[in-house]
Amino acid sequence: DQQVKQNSPSLSVQEGRISILNCDYTNSMFDYFLWYKKYPAEGPTFLISISSIKDKNEDGRFTVFLNKSAKHLSLHIVPSQPGDSAVYFCAAKGQETSGSRLTFGEGTQLTVNP
């Protein structure tokens, strides 16, 4: 039972354009969402997060949108840069989750072409 799903395994965009990465979840008890970025041969690194009481959080070129009614969140990168090419993981935390555990999606490989 995959509670966090990223349905697009890959996404390719041109440098300077917008990248939109999507994530859907099924557990209505999730109350905090995060995006991680992963380069090859490295561990994932935290990118941006959002609480379930908000619908938008922005940090520089990165914006995360949350639509609770649709159980959907998205990460927007504007403008996209070649250095943004990486695997992006969506993650979620449940209110009832002990140990602050996060549930991750499958990941989306973003390629930004010069």
Binding site: Q6, P9, Y32, L34, Y36, A41, E42, G43, P44, T45, F46, S49, F89, A91, K93, S98, G99, S100, R101, L102, T103, F104, G105, E106, G107
Partner: protein, 114 residues
């Protein structure tokens, strides 16, 4: 000195042999986690720890055991390695507590079971 160190970085082992992966942190974080990354599955939680000698199972714990005898170290043991345990293993730590839900990840251990 890196905050989270995983050892070894790469290992090839034979089916049926025991294997222990080590995670060492200098962050003094309360929570520690072991995840495995596989294509099409993203990051899946194996085991986690919420304090010294306090551990619990994640979603894919069969065939794995863990131990945490001190805050800094979290060991993952494959009692009898199988080919299905060929994967990249990531250790992560978390401070826990309100609004501190993000993890810090190690660089990973690539394990091949032949």
């Amino acid at each position: 000195d890196a905050g989270i160190t995983q050892s070894p970085r790469h290992k090839v082992t034979e089916t049926g042999t025991p294997v222990t992966l080590r995670c060492h942190q200098t962050e003094n974080h309360r929570y520690m986690y072991w995840y495995r990354q596989d294509p099409g599955h993203g990051l899946r939680l194996i085991h986690y720890s919420y304090g010294v000698k306090d551990t619990d199972k994640g979603e894919v714990s069969d065939g794995y055991s863990v131990s945490r005898s001190k805050t800094e170290d979290f060991l993952l043991t494959l009692e009898s390695a199988t080919s299905s345990q060929t994967s990249v293993y990531f250790c992560a730590t978390g401070k826990g507590g309100a609004n501190s839900y993000g993890y810090t990840f190690g660089s990973g251990t690539r394990l091949t079971v032949v």
